[in-house]
């Protein structure tokens, strides 16, 4: 059996783990062929890839949507060709109206930002800053849904009574990149404003911020830095005491689940149409559980 897979982006750390999870699992299975395509963050390209899969006569399609609100057209394309389709990692907008031979295995993106921000808030409180704390927010690429969602979740958490002591000095984008984050942090530092935390949309930017702060001699004890993804680099930074919070998402598990579901659909077996895989908070307390996972 051949399964066509279209991933939102190849050079994303997290999605790479997910993709490798699928590939390794398919290798274990007999006679399952994966063909993985890179949609390069382009919804239109992704739709074209689905059509190309259909033209090549694959048995099932796995989609890691670039944009969860663009799934309607994909569902239509696959449904009209009668090819089973599975969404993975991001919850499609039409999740409640999926046809019979479609399913999704995803996590709820709202959790990641919320978990990270809430833990960051608790840390600031425990450091005795409940009189008032200043933080910076580093956003991912503004055209990217995860960035928009996580930033919104940060704000939702900071709006809660318990966390309303936290004041956002400024929020800017560093486009997911460690390099831009370093420059952005140094720019912030050059204005000399006192701050207590940096909440970042992902780990890479958090690490960039840490590197910039260390370079200008700021003690990482006094600053709360949060990220999302629990990458290996982030775990190392956490063990060195620089990064305080990150969030783990079971990428490999999602990958396996997606392949299983796709195979079942292709064989006409019954499947659960919705599978949620939760995010997990990672702090120095439970870091050892995650060292070998991503």
């Amino acid at each position: 059996e051949t399964i066509g897979v279209t991933m939102a982006l190849f050079d994303d750390n997290f999605l790479t783990v997910l993709r490798n999870g699928m590939i390794e699992y398919a290798d274990e299975l007999e006679g399952v062929d994966l063909q993985v395509e890179d949609a390069q963050n382009d919804v239109a390209k992704q739709l074209d890839q689905i059509n190309n899969f259909i033209a090549s006569g694959v048995d099932a399609i796995i989609v890691n949507p670039v944009d969860t609100s663009a799934t309607e057209a994909m569902t239509n394309a696959a449904a009209s060709a009668g090819v089973p389709l599975v969404y993975v990692n991001r919850q499609p907008i039409n999740v409640d109206s999926l046809p019979e031979n479609q399913a999704f295995v995803a996590s709820n993106e709202i959790e990641s930002g919320t978990l990270a921000a809430f833990e960051g808030c608790k840390l600031l409180r425990s450091m005795g800053k409940s009189e008032g704390a200043n933080i910076y927010i580093m956003m991912g690429e503004l055209s990217n849904q995860a960035a928009v969602q996580r930033t919104k979740d940060f704000h939702d958490v900071l709006a809660m009574d318990m966390c309303s002591f936290i004041n956002v000095i400024d929020e800017q984008t560093a486009n997911w990149s460690r390099d831009e984050a370093q420059d952005l942090m140094t720019n912030w530092l050059s204005s000399g404003t006192q701050f207590d935390g940096v909440f970042s949309n992902n780990d890479e930017m958090a690490i960039g911020a840490i590197q910039a702060m260390k370079a200008s001699g700021i003690s990482m004890e006094d600053v709360v830095v949060t990220g999302v993804d629990a990458t290996q680099d982030a775990l190392v930074a956490m063990r060195e005491g620089d990064l305080d919070v990150t969030v783990f998402q079971n990428a490999a598990g999602q990958g396996r689940g997606a392949v299983d579901t796709a195979l079942k659909l292709a064989r006409g077996e019954d499947v659960a149409q919705k599978v949620y895989i939760p995010f997990e908070l990672v702090t120095p307390a439970n870091i050892d559980d995650y060292l070998a996972k991503n």
Partner: protein
């Protein structure tokens, strides 16, 4: 030594040795690439690339493949038509991809339905007064976006004389900013059914239809109208065009406006086809569009090329993308090989031309 009608002073030339039209070379490259995929398909996959050897469609051809080959380049192809005339006029347009993004966002927000499956539209941008509008509203709004972007590009280039590369690079950055700012990065979804037809009508052939229709129209315009002639003249020698009395500035504005409006049209088709608009839509389309034009024989120094060539360039892109999926080429190798093929197609063309001029 027969035809003498086009010479003066009793001179003759040998009309049988007329120069090979450029477009034929490109067509040759296209056929060659298809052949390579056919051969590799037969060897590696035991399957035909373009033909329906498994009887899946009850036709000679794998119709789905033909469809997707042209469908997947139709939208960038529409942009490439506009870019072609910009390049012929001696300019370049780096803003088209971003204009697609901004236009898609803005137009789509006037094309939303009020209710989705009985629930209020979760992605609503405006209040209900601006929902369920007739399709003409988002279309006009969208085209107006393209017009404004093109107008700004054109005015900057024509009247301040800054290089088109910079003017359109600025527009590229700015328009992408507009796209992100419009709904603060949120995607905009759930268009009306009539809007959805723009990209999905005619059984899904609508984008192809629009692309091919516009290609024919612009091929004729460039070849047979004053507009076309002046576009070539300006690209060939701007000073000469100016000294000959062509209103160069005014003409350039028109060229960029048309390019902007074609990019906007592509945005309408794109967002309609995908039933959503995203701030990141159209990233890198400008480079693909330029590459299609250049592969199709449009000279980046201006004055030379045709829309037919660009269409062939677009088809080469389409065949390559589909061919890779057909061969199940590992995605990692796809990009590497794609780069090589783009270069290869142009190199091939170059050699044929040089050979032709040596005869």
């Amino acid at each position: 030594m027969s035809e003498t009608t086009h010479g003066t002073g009793g001179l003759t030339f040998d009309a049988s040795r007329r120069v090979w039209p450029n477009e034929l070379n490109i067509f040759g490259a296209l056929v060659l690439i298809v052949l390579i995929f056919e051969v590799l398909g037969a060897l590696l996959m035991g399957q035909s690339f373009l033909f329906d050897t498994q009887g899946r469609f009850g036709s000679i051809f794998n119709e789905q493949r033909l469809y997707i080959i042209i469908l997947q380049v139709s939208i960038v192809g529409i942009i490439a038509i506009g870019v072609t005339q910009v390049i012929i006029s001696g300019g370049i347009d780096l803003s088209s991809g971003s204009v697609v993004g901004a236009t898609a966002m803005i137009a789509m927000s006037f094309a939303q339905v009020a209710e989705v499956n009985g629930h209020p539209n979760p992605k609503a941008v405006f209040g209900p007064a601006f929902m369920d509008l007739p399709v003409i509203v988002p279309v006009v709004v969208g085209l107006a976006c393209g017009l404004v972007a093109g107008l700004i590009n054109g005015l900057l280039i024509a009247y301040t004389r800054i290089p088109p590369f910079i003017a359109t690079l600025g527009m590229m950055v700015t328009a992408r900013g507009v796209a992100k700012w419009w709904s603060k990065g949120q995607p905009i979804s759930f268009p009306t059914d009539s809007y959805a037809m723009i990209g999905n009508g005619l059984g899904g052939w609508m984008p192809v239809f629009i692309f091919v229709g516009l290609a024919i129209l612009f091929q004729l315009i460039l070849k047979y109208t004053v507009y076309g002639k002046h576009t070539y003249a300006i690209g060939s020698n701007e000073d000469a065009a100016r000294m000959s009395g062509i209103k160069v500035a005014r003409h350039k504005v028109l060229v960029y406006v048309i390019a902007g409006m074609l990019a906007a049209l592509a945005a309408l088709v794109l967002s309609s086809k995908n039933l959503t608009a995203q701030a990141g839509m159209g990233v890198m389309y400008e480079l693909d569009a330029i590459a299609m034009a250049v592969i199709g024989g449009v000279s980046l120094s201006g004055g030379r090329g045709s829309v037919v060539g660009t269409v062939l360039g677009a088809l080469i892109f389409g065949v390559i993308i589909s061919g890779f999926t057909f061969l199940r080429l590992d995605a990692y190798y796809q990009e590497m090989v794609k780069g090589a093929i783009i270069v290869g197609a142009v190199v091939l063309d170059q050699y044929r031309q040089r050979f032709a001029s040596q005869r």
